[in-house]
């Protein structure tokens, strides 16, 4: 199939950036990133600079790949990362516009690569359980309700890709932050530090310059791991409880 690509090119963080158009010949069984590989091979053969994009595992779990494809983070399919998107979703003659994830807290590094280290900062502010190696009791010491553990897993499945921020018209990181807080809050081991975790992570999230959640719900739609906005509502409640709760 022959495709027209309109791709955001930006030399570095200071460059203002622009769109460039390309043509590429793809096959339906290719992954979307393999299609970009083909384009890059073409560019290199013409001694031009290839398009930079983040990617690594190419099986939908590392969270490296990003891209906003025709206005949608990770492309048109639900529950799919860009690397899992295959060209059979497109037909010959299609024009595909590819942009980087946009949010002030995710500055563009080059072309389609953005800096998502603000997520690391949020985790560092409290997204963990303070247990040193070797301090743990037996794994079966505390039984955990199967469904609860499963719900915790649903939140823990976040891959930290940032599609939620990219999709959010406010550039809010509430889905990411709330997923981590919900994951840890549901485990008995995580309850101990819950209040401080909530306070500190929200504080850090605000400090990173993310926008405020206005319950649009675009994050949930675009999340490749289909993490629910229920996490956000819960976090709101946790936060109110933490602030107004008694000693």
């Amino acid at each position: 199939m022959e495709l027209k690509l309109k791709i955001w090119r930006q030399k570095n963080q200071k460059d203002s950036g622009h769109f460039e158009s390309y043509k590429v010949e793809a096959e339906e069984h290719m992954s979307f990133l393999e299609m970009l590989d083909v384009l890059n091979q073409q560019l290199i053969e013409q001694k031009k600079e290839p398009v930079a994009f983040d990617h690594d595992c190419r099986e939908g779990i590392c969270g490296s790949c990003s891209l906003v494809i025709n206005g949608r983070p990770h492309g048109p399919q639900a529950g799919t990362t860009t690397c899992q998107l295959h060209m059979r979703a497109y037909k010959s003659g299609d024009t595909i516009t590819i942009e980087p994830f946009r949010a002030s807290s995710f500055p563009v590094i080059k072309d389609l690569v953005v800096d998502r280290s603000s997520f690391d900062n949020i985790i560092q502010s409290g997204g963990y359980i303070s247990v040193n190696t070797g301090q743990a009791p037996d794994g079966n010491a505390i039984p955990i309700e199967k469904d609860l553990s499963s719900e915790a897993f649903d939140s823990a499945t976040c891959i930290g890709c940032g599609a939620c921020v990219a999709a959010c018209p406010n550039g809010s990181a509430m889905l990411f932050t709330s997923a981590k807080i919900n994951h840890l809050q549901k485990m008995p081991q995580g309850k101990v530090e819950h209040k401080n975790r909530v306070k500190n992570m929200i504080k850090q999230m605000d400090k990173e310059g993310f926008g405020q959640c206005s319950n649009v719900g675009a994050c949930e739609v675009e999340c490749p791991k289909e993490i629910s906005t229920k996490n956000i509502a819960n976090l709101n409640r946790f936060y109110l409880g933490t602030v107004f709760g008694g000693e």
Binding site: H29, I44, D56, E59, S125, V131, T133, P143, I144, A156
Partner: protein, 664 residues
């Protein structure tokens, strides 16, 4: 060079306990003065860096990723073994030890493997305490499943994302140490050289991948946790960025590479679909618990399927060859990975492959769906359920167990695996070989340690399923933090290592010159094209089966490829900017040299064992034939551009009798 494995004296089961209790300690006030560099922050690196930080060492951790959470440990699906015996099915530390030694085809160290089995139980406890949401039973206790190559259920899992959950656990622990300042984290920094001072590893040279800046980092010792080198085959289940460069730079500075030819070819991956393919995707081995592997009995049927005239559903039960069940009745579809992979190759070599390229076999869940469906109908009290109802209920059960894997399969292939058997084929997955290390996980270079997949130590010639996560975490959480003290306790009088020394200067200059020379080639071929060609040579001559003639030829081809690389590679862009092509170039040239060493190692090892199958050495039935008389040793290679030197570490088996592995 005499290789000192430094295995402690005593009974196998007491060695680690005794050793741990008698090792030299570093006092807390001294820990504060000691610096440790950890390169790589996957399972092994993150767990090591976090634990070292908790102990009070000053840690600098490096990853080429934008965050430690991206490491490829995250992609491990199936699970992690631990000798908890929660299922009361006769498991024990000894049994896990024995299974691992046997699974590794008797090419690993008894003492290391036993220690691994001992630590396995602590890992589960640690992970649970970190909040890892493992699968649980209705009673709230941890669930287990069985995994390829063993007959007990000792595998702990978190749906099909066990690696992700464990890595996130380690990443969170690491994040906590970063927040306290105990670990200084360098994201998007790639190690380009090892710096040695007075024969000890004292630092690294890195490139800041965002700015291209070359930096010096000094410490009292260096830990490499940089993963495996499966990407030498270009197509593998590794991530695109997984590379050997950090380890290879150490090899170039005198560290030994052990058993490089021991590569694990995983039997259940999604087959290659075309020339453009950039990587292969694994379907967890756990699928073999319920999936049955088969090909058509006749070539005609296979060809009809390949040409699209028939589908799997058109082949009658009696015309199917469930070849694993036929050849290995005792283990059936659960034989270890190397055995399953080779059997798939035998089937496709007989022209019975079921995908266009001829390289694919079926993995069929129809029987499992029916079995589960019937059982579920019974529990739900449905009398005489219809066939549709059974299928519906069965699909629900299968979906609960493997839902995300089935989804992943459908996304990639566009086929519904509930209705149509999956098509799978073996692919390079893991490398058992790696930097040679002693019992302390220290390489032959004093002060240089290697943990996780980057070392060679525990899996011998073949790794059992769900053992990689176990080894990475055992090394990082429970072994290295102790054993590193053996070295560091001698360093408490060493002042802070300065980066101003002549050695750092020289290493930095060498790195800069190396990068410049790569840019200056200004040839016509892309880095990627060299990598692809390297991969083809490796797969052809050093893949699932190898022979002397091919290995010699392959080695020569790689040497030619190296020359061509140095005369015709083209790297676009600039040196001092974000430049993925430059990163790839430095990695691919290291892969090329490693590839040559792998060919050499495979050629030297005149036996078949584990993942290393030499066509010349097989039984009449076509099974691998080990040569314990002459090859019960670890091959540790000292690099030389022309003639790498082989050093041997004899393996002594005092507790296990060497037997021919049989899964029949």
């Amino acid at each position: 060079m005499k290789l000192e494995a430094r295995i402690p004296e005593g009974n196998l089961s007491d060695k680690w306990k005794k050793y741990r209790g008698s090792m030299n300690l570093v006092a807390p006030n001294n820990k504060r003065r000691l610096d440790v560099i950890v390169v790589g922050t996957g399972l092994a690196g993150a767990s090591a860096a976090a634990t070292l930080g908790e102990l009070g060492y000053n840690v600098k951790a490096f990853t080429f990723h934008d965050s430690p959470r991206r490491a490829h440990s995250i992609a491990a699906q199936g699970g992690i073994n631990a000798a908890k015996n929660y299922q009361n099915d006769g498991d024990s530390v000894y049994r896990l030890f024995y299974d691992t030694i046997k699974g590794g085809d008797y090419r690993s160290r008894e003492a290391n493997v036993h220690r691994l089995a001992e630590c396995s139980t602590e890992i589960i406890d640690q992970a649970v305490a970190q909040g890892v949401p493992f699968a649980r039973e209705y009673g709230g206790l941890l669930a287990n499943r069985s995994f390829g190559g063993v007959q007990v259920s000792r595998t702990f899992y978190a749906r099909g994302q066990t690696g992700q959950q464990l890595l996130i656990g380690a990443y969170q622990s690491l994040s906590r140490q970063i927040a306290t300042g105990q670990v200084e984290m360098y994201n998007r920094h790639e190690m380009l050289d090892l710096v040695m001072i007075d024969g000890k590893a004292r630092g690294i040279i890195t490139r800041n991948l965002l700015t291209g800046e070359i930096d010096r980092h000094a410490a009292h010792c260096v830990v490499l946790a940089t993963g495996g080198y499966g990407n030498v085959f270009y197509l593998s289940t590794n991530a695109m960025g997984s590379n050997v460069s950090a380890a290879w730079r150490a090899v170039k500075k005198g560290a030994l590479m052990a058993n490089p030819c021991f590569t694990q070819i995983h039997p259940t991956c999604i087959p290659v679909s075309g020339e453009y393919q950039s990587k292969l995707t694994l379907m967890s081995e756990s699928l073999r618990n319920d999936g049955r592997v088969w090909v058509p009995k006749t070539e005609e049927d296979a060809i009809a399927i390949r040409e699209g005239r028939k589908t799997a559903l058109d082949i009658a039960e009696e015309d199917r060859d469930y070849y694993l069940e036929r050849r290995y009745p005792a283990f059936g579809n659960l034989v270890p990975r190397d055995v399953a992979s080779r059997a798939a190759k035998v089937a496709t070599d007989e022209n019975k492959g079921v995908v266009k390229t001829g390289l694919g076999v079926f993995l069929d869940f129809a029987a499992a769906i029916e079995r589960y469906g019937k059982a579920e109908a019974l529990t739900k009290g449905i009398q005489n359920p219809s066939k549709e109802k059974v299928t519906e209920l069965g699909e629900q059960v299968v979906s609960q167990k493997y839902g995300n894997l089935f989804q992943m399969y459908e996304k990639i292939t566009g086929e519904n695996p509930y209705k149509m058997p999956m098509k799978i084929y073996p692919a390079v997955h893991y490398t058992m070989g790696g930097l040679w290390v002693d019992y302390n996980l220290q390489t032959n270079v004093p002060g240089l340690f290697a943990v996780g997949e980057a070392n060679f130590s525990d899996h011998g010639a073949n790794r059992l399923g769900a053992s990689a996560l176990m080894q990475g975490l055992a090394d990082g959480y429970f072994v290295l933090p102790y054993t590193i003290g053996q070295f560091l306790s001698e360093e408490i009088r060493s002042p802070k290592i300065s980066t101003d020394s002549a050695e750092f200067e020289a290493a930095e200059k060498a790195t800069k010159d190396r990068l410049k020379s790569l840019f200056d080639i200004k040839g016509n071929q892309s880095v990627e094209s060299f990598h692809r060609r390297l991969g083809k040579i490796m797969w052809e001559y050093c893949g699932m089966s190898r022979n002397a003639e091919g290995l010699k030829k392959g080695r020569q081809m790689i040497r030619d490829l190296k020359q061509e690389f140095y005369s015709d590679v083209f790297i676009p862009g600039e040196e001092n900017e974000f430049n993925p092509e430059l990163e790839k170039a430095t990695r691919v040239i290291d892969f090329i040299e490693l590839g040559e060493l792998m060919m050499l190692d495979a050629l030297e090892r005149n036996e078949s064992c584990g993942g290393h199958f030499r066509e010349e050495y097989r039984t009449e039935e076509g099974e691998a034939m080990r040569n314990d008389q002459d090859y019960t040793f670890v091959s540790a290679w000292e690099w030389d551009d022309d003639n790498p030197v082989l050093h041997k570490e004899e393996l002594n088996f005092e507790n296990v009798e060497l037997k021919t592995r049989s899964y029949k």
